[in-house]
Symmetry: C2
Subunit: 221 residues, 2 copies
DNA sequence: CGAGCGATTGAAAAGACTCAACCACCGTGG
DNA sequence: CCACGGTGGTTGAGTCTTTTCAATCGCTCG
């Protein structure tokens, strides 16, 4: 079931089941907050989460999205720092917390699990560095196109492959992923609509021309 | 000596010593190249290295610096991907390569070492995400100030605390750290000089007013 | 000495941001 | 049931930052 914790078995799984605590988070509720000390790691059972870091003058930057099967909060715990980001539910989500000690024991005792966590961190770091290059070198239009394609990858679509991207983000949220001002984001969305690359219905965005949007995204690599 | 490998001892240290291979790299020489398969990890014994990722239209973005005591190339190896970045020597450097298998064995057999590597990755990821926020939200001037302060942190200064930052970067390199065009970088450097915050001598940069530059940097956190 | 590369400067254009106003939708309370 | 207020979305105009293109300068290496 759970991508990273999937390999856990036997007595370790028991320890895990016993110590974990689960909870529900409604849209807008905070799972963990920037600046707080990490008490454990969070396994998303279902739902959608944004992880965002507050920067200059309160503006925040979304650095990651999570969905069912993903794990959150391990970076800060492993680095031995307070959280550098806040995790906020985008819709009703069920999330379990595995206490710090249980997680660390697991790492000590299970080499495969450690390996999984390292793979996870390495993947995240790779993505973060790609984002750095994008922010430094690509214009808003390209970054937006890439963001929409990535959101579709992560969250999928509703009712078939041509449906709307299955996540509800405000324009401000979207601007905070792309790294631009809300107004600029709105205008760029309008451009893409005018070119029939995407369509919007309420807050939902539908990709009409995947190939065209990919071209606009001008993806590096 | 070596920050991450410092805790290795006994038979593991022997295995490591026997399998590693060392080499010298002169300024401009490539240690490993974006796109290549990682054959091992690199321990910088001495010297200075830039790690850069090529992006849009050949422009590249420097994502990390390394010096003696640092380890490189573990991200790609752990993620099981080809290198996403190139490592290039900034000055004559001595670097050892620990073969892939030796490194992975070490991870399997030594829980503390695994833990060190996870801490390393977590720290890198934290830095990368901070850089993301900076690129998304701060103007060139602030990013440049922060970069200069960071370079001083990493590489130190020559002849006392008020000396020049101990690394030779071209204006283009510097622009590729800050994430801007070379011309913009040059102009911004000129601004900081005019304000007596820094001074330049050939390619070397000296920080004249650390407090003032810190203020300009407007560091988040 | 000349070629060439890196650094610098200037000027014009493009991209993105800010400020301000307006619109549309939604839930609330009268 | 409807008026109201509030929030989020959209649009316009002007400004500022940053980029781009072009030209010049200075130094170093053959």
């Amino acid at each position: 079931m759970n991508s990273v914790l999937g390999s856990i078995e036997g007595s370790e799984l028991d320890a895990l089941s016993q110590s974990k605590s689960c909870g529900m988070f409604k849209r807008g509720e905070v799972v963990f907050e920037q600046g707080a000390q990490p008490l454990g790691i969070y396994c998303v059972h279902s739902g959608k989460i944004k992880v965002h870091r507050s920067g200059d003058e309160g503006r925040d930057q979304i650095v990651r999205f999570a969905k069912g099967g993903d794990v959150l909060g391990y970076r800060a715990l492993l680095a031995g720092e307070p959280y550098a980001a806040t995790a906020t539910a985008l819709e009703t989500s069920t999330i379990c917390c595995i206490p710090r000690a249980t997680f660390l024991d697991l790492l000590k005792s299970d080499g495969n699990f450690s390996m999984d966590v390292m793979r996870l961190l390495s993947g995240d770091l790779g993505n973060a560095e790609r984002q750095i290059v994008n922010l430094a070198q690509k214009p808003v239009r390209e970054r937006l196109a890439e963001t929409l394609l990535a959101l579709r990858e992560v969250y999928g679509t509703e009712n078939g492959p041509d449906g709307a991207i299955s996540v509800q983000l405000s324009r401000e949220d979207l601007a905070n992923v792309v790294g631009t001002a809300t107004e600029t984001l709105v205008r760029t969305i309008a451009d893409l609509k005018r070119e029939d690359l995407i369509a919007t219905d309420k807050k939902k965005i539908r990709i009409l021309d995947h190939a065209g949007l990919t071209e606009v995204a001008n993806v590096i690599d």
